[in-house]
Symmetry: C2
Amino acid sequence: MKIGILGTGVVGTTLGTKFVSLGHEVRLGSRETDNPKALEWVQTTGQRASQGTFSSASAFGEIVFICLRGDVALPVVKSVGGETLKSKIVVDVSNPLDIAKPMPCPLLPDLVNTNSLGEEIQKLLPHSAVVKTLITVNCEVMVNPGLVKADTDLFISGNDASAKNKVVDLLHSLGWKNIIDLGDITTARATEMLMPIWMRLWGIFGTPHFNLKFVK
Amino acid sequence: MKIGILGTGVVGTTLGTKFVSLGHEVRLGSRETDNPKALEWVQTTGQRASQGTFSSASAFGEIVFICLRGDVALPVVKSVGGETLKSKIVVDVSNPLDIAKPMPCPLLPDLVNTNSLGEEIQKLLPHSAVVKTLITVNCEVMVNPGLVKADTDLFISGNDASAKNKVVDLLHSLGWKNIIDLGDITTARATEMLMPIWMRLWGIFGTPHFNLKFVK
């Protein structure tokens, strides 16, 4: 499958490397062509890896992953535009953290409680199927759920059931077994609002390699 | 121990009944003396149970539990006043839900993300030790953690370590084993913000008898 990834940070490159290792073709997108981090990633990752602008990676992917800082995700999606992403699955892996505030920072005030980043991206892309997932775990756990001892839970939100099914298949290929469909894209509020306890527990556990499990 | 409970709803009476069964004396407080629900609870719960006003229950308890709707907790605490609750442990079990909104309702806009109900109660009671806990589970699970299959996690927040230790002892007596101290009262933001996913999972699981566990 052709996968576009917007963002050259650790989340984007970790997911990209894993997808290439699973046989997919991956194009990493950044603000401008020949971003040094993207070039380095292409060189170390091999022939199914490529890089380009955000628009190039968006045009390339059948599925496009948004792996951007929460405060830049909306402007980047706006700059790419709905036409390029039309009829595609857009997987939003961004947390709307207000990183200008001291750590553990809160969420961005316009994207919390009665709104979410996932919903705002869906509003910008009315002809795309936005799916929110993976944001509740560190990126090394995203691509290797076995880093955490028990079979823990992952969540998925989105308006389009068929798009969610395709993303679930991809998550299964990463090793995820328990994927809870929370409902439409408004349920992204619930997973984005897990960030505050995640950040506290990161400090307490001394490792980002943990995840939650809901037990009946 | 003498325990005051503010609130005659299902959370207050469930905790009150359990504390009486463990040998404590419990006074249930409500807006006015001889509230019919409080009288009925006293009659069915036996001789260590009593009822009175919010102020009477606050004066009675060595530890005082706030088991009120989130939107009335602050006015009630204000009406009782800091003098009555001075030097006491005040356990806040209230969720700041904006129940005027459709279900699943958001949190109250002034008490989320950069603030919390726990913090606002602590500000009203500068000479009390406010401890936030138990809000992440249904009240039947609060008093019977064994309703959920695995040993799940409970969280505690508060500025006063010795007050938290006393509350942890009380939680142990309810059957709780894994109690994670998140830190000072500002960490109540993290547990209050679990309410949105809790409400979604309540719908999905079809039972309020579940809890989360963090796994390394």
